[in-house]
Symmetry: C2
Subunit: 299 residues, 2 copies
């Protein structure tokens, strides 16, 4: 069986056909423009391949993932122009005539990492992406995190020392929330240049401070067995090491677990699937949707 996966980002969509990271037969990447055009390009790509058993979408959000909701499968209140209230699942399902699985981009990536990557064997863990924005998802007790809607790690409030960092924050909703202080957009607004052009160690010490503060909150609420950290900003060499050191300091040994002290190098890690975690996880969402449509349980 082969499946179609979509990592539906706010900047670009990545579509792939295959059944896992070892078998990605074809992939395509294109910019996120209007919903009609973007979803159209995805359906064009998938219709060229016969025999797909299902489609999976890991989407930017916020999205509606409540299966009993009339707007299940939609992007909801996104500030991204033209995309609010776009029913992604219905559009794809109607165009392709296939079952469609749908979840957040970060839950899809978490699923990919749990099946094939850095979270194999774990039942409670997080996947956090720090790129243009910040998102977080994962599993608790072996199932993807949903609850009320789905997590929105980016919009936690974290301490903001305005003496050290007078920047007001970049989030249009909350100003200096976690995303407002630590996302790629925050770096660009605060320093006037994108992260990849910033080399001052003070820039990255501050970035590590915010990421560590956010992850401390994640540790204290979700108690994950591991945090997988992806996204463009985290490709900065040594950033992970700065984050681990600062997290360990901030936690001060209160939670007595080697994972948070001596073994913290294996606690905060890069995605084993790299940039493909999202689209590969979307293929796993497709597989689950196909099995569900057949009335069978995922194997």
């Amino acid at each position: 069986m082969i499946y179609g996966g979509i990592e539906a980002g706010g900047t670009k969509w990545v579509c792939a056909i295959g059944d896992g990271p070892g078998d990605l037969r074809e992939t395509v990447t294109f910019p996120t423009t209007t919903p009609v055009e973007t979803i159209g390009r995805a359906t064009d790509f998938f219709t060229r391949t016969n025999g797909l058993a299902g489609i999976g979408v890991g989407s930017f959000g916020p999205i509606d993932v409540r299966r009993t909701s009339p707007t299940w499968g939609s992007i909801t209140t996104t500030p991204k122009a033209g995309w609010a209230h776009t029913d992604v699942v219905s559009e794809l399902g109607l165009a392709l005539g296939l079952p469609v699985g749908f979840d957040t981009d970060v839950n899809a990536a978490a699923l990919g990492e749990q099946r094939w990557g850095a979270a194999i064997g774990l039942d409670t863990f997080c996947y956090v992406t720090v790129g243009t924005g910040i998102g977080g998802g994962g599993m608790a007790n072996g199932r993807l995190l949903h609850g009320l809607l789905h997590p929105e790690f980016g919009h936690m409030r974290v301490p903001h020392d305005r003496t050290r960092d007078p920047f007001d924050g970049a989030c249009p909703y909350h100003g200096d929330c976690f995303e407002g202080l630590a996302s790629g957009e925050a770096l660009r607004h605060r320093w006037g240049e994108p992260g990849e052009q910033l080399d001052d160690p003070a820039v990255w010490a501050l970035e590590a401070e915010y990421l560590a503060l956010g992850f401390v909150d994640v540790v204290c609420t979700l108690s994950p067995q591991r945090i997988i950290l992806g996204g463009g900003v985290t490709k900065r060499p040594d950033l992970l090491e700065l984050v681990r050191t600062r997290m360990r300091d901030l936690l001060s040994g209160y939670i007595a677990a080697p994972e948070l002290t001596d073994a913290i190098d294996e606690y905060v890690v890069a995605p084993a699937l790299g940039d493909r975690a999202g689209v590969v996880g979307a293929i796993e969402l497709a597989r689950r949707a196909a099995h569900e449509a057949e009335g069978a349980k995922p194997t």
Copy 2:
């Protein structure tokens, strides 16, 4: 069947015999002194009743709840004098010859509320207590939150505006973490009097601010369907209403759910079981331990 439940707090232990909130046949409360004396009083109480099928303990912590760990059933690194590394489960099990269920005090209260109280029918929710300290637990995907160890809501970092509140915080590990700023101890240290003697509206506006900031982080990470708020500090009239209003403002409508806007009165609620949530939840832990010991699944 009847069971014994213990709400093992750092200040007092509450022991009860029964099979739920409608049938608490006998309860006793005594101060937490030394482990030997305190556990001894509990075993004395339970040995007077024949026919108990199991004991459940909802304990202050941090505790070891990893079933495969050699120190499962112990209180671990608590700063409470004499209690670090106390093997509560073994002591009770040996003295009483009964199966013992063990979890955090807040997970026990969450379990009680889910079976009989304010969380019936929910699968992802939180129980937070604000008393001497701050603790949080709950369920994700229908099972109690454990993960790496167990949540420690009290030790999140939240924004601390030192102009408005120059208090350094009361946590011996982290200073101005959530518990360091918003617990009963924090109130007492900051204002020089315990919470129940404080009437200045500014005191409670600041308290509501911190609680709302902490709960925003919980909403953004765990995405609970409801937050149940217990503990001595939260008995202040109107505090819940202040917290709800401030949470709604802080979230700014970003997460489009009526539970976080118009219906927030039903989202942040007091425990339906009141002060008995913990001990009644411990009875449910006992029931589960007894069924597990019999090799049967909980019904």
